[in-house]
């Protein structure tokens, strides 16, 4: 916990100073989570603010301060999901739609050849964003929380409130879809090279 339970309780009773304290403590972490979930850096701050607006209006629904972090994560997941739903840009995006440059980037990452600069990170984000077009918004978020955020199945169970086996099945299927898209584009790339 980045803040004391007492601060959360004060914020619940309407103390705006305590609310500010929570936001300041968690905003960096939330920005990080969202940047992994939505990939578009220009919209990350907007979605993070939406998370805190929702937190402000639903803080009184938080029954126990102990579950604050999973609860905040759920708000983050929901806000990211809503954002992705609004963004109609996905439109049956497939890995085959990736540009050659993006596919080359995915290969370069695997070989560790690329340079660590802003352009490189941007391309990584674009590649992942395009790849995740192979799965639904909900599966995308789940996959990112597991694969990129490194959340355990236990953590995900708390967030999704479904059992571990159901999550495993969903994760497996989502990963297989992404892999299939990745493989299809990879072979297309190899065909062009050959």
């Amino acid at each position: 916990m980045l803040v004391d339970f007492e601060v959360i309780k004060r914020a619940q009773s309407g103390d705006s100073g305590a609310f500010n304290e929570i936001v300041l403590a968690y905003r960096k972490r939330i920005l990080g989570h969202i940047s992994h979930l939505i990939a578009r850096t220009e919209d990350v701050e907007d979605v993070a603010q939406e998370v805190f607006v929702r937190m402000y209006y639903s803080l009184d629904q938080l029954r126990a301060a102990e579950v604050f972090e999973p609860w905040l994560y759920t708000l983050t997941k929901n806000a990211a999901y809503d954002y992705l739903r609004k963004q109609k840009r996905r439109q049956e995006f497939r890995m085959s739609d990736l540009s050659e440059q993006q596919v080359t980037m995915a290969d370069a990452v695997a070989g560790g050849k690329a340079e660590q600069d802003d352009q490189y990170h941007k391309k990584i984000r674009e590649s992942v964003d395009a790849l995740l077009g192979a799965v639904s918004e909900a599966d995308r978020i789940l996959l990112m929380m597991k694969e990129v955020e490194g959340l355990s199945l236990k953590d995900l169970e708390k967030i999704y409130k479904v059992n571990e086996n159901a999550l495993k099945v969903r994760l497996f299927r989502a990963r297989q879809r992404v892999l299939k898209a990745f493989g299809a584009s990879d072979s297309k790339q190899a065909g062009k090279a050959g």
């Binding site: 960096k28 603010q49 607006v53 990452v109 990584i124 990963r175 990745f182 493989g183």
Partner: protein
């Protein structure tokens, strides 16, 4: 056995996870409070409108209830039945042919 693509995908995800986290801008907090207040205003307006609508509905219900229960002084109940009134206003040309009373009389006889 993990395929080559699986390894590549894992590497891509690792690289994605290692991308730097965006820093909050200087306007993060002011914009956040603006958004909170904007939503508060909207919620407040909506609540006020809903309250006004509910109050109007209650007032209308009470008014209608009073109107229905107050005895009407100028109410004149008709002494005749609908059929009587109808028969008076449209006298039959040949009542002996169609009048039920006459038929009943003839049947009884």
């Amino acid at each position: 056995m993990r395929g080559n693509n699986e390894e590549k995908l894992d590497a891509l995800f690792r690289a994605f996870a290692a991308c730097p986290t965006p820093e909050p801008s200087a306007n993060f907090m002011p914009t956040l409070w603006q958004k909170i207040e904007a939503r508060q205003t909207f919620t407040f307006s909506f609540r006020r409108m809903a309250n006004a609508f509910a109050a109007a509905a209650v007032a209308l219900t009470l008014a209608l209830s009073v109107y229905m229960y107050v005895p009407r002084t100028n109410l004149s109940l008709p002494s005749q039945t609908y059929l009587d009134v109808l028969a008076d206003s449209h006298p039959l040309v040949a009542p002996e042919l169609v009048s039920p009373a006459r038929l009943e009389y003839e049947y009884g006889r």
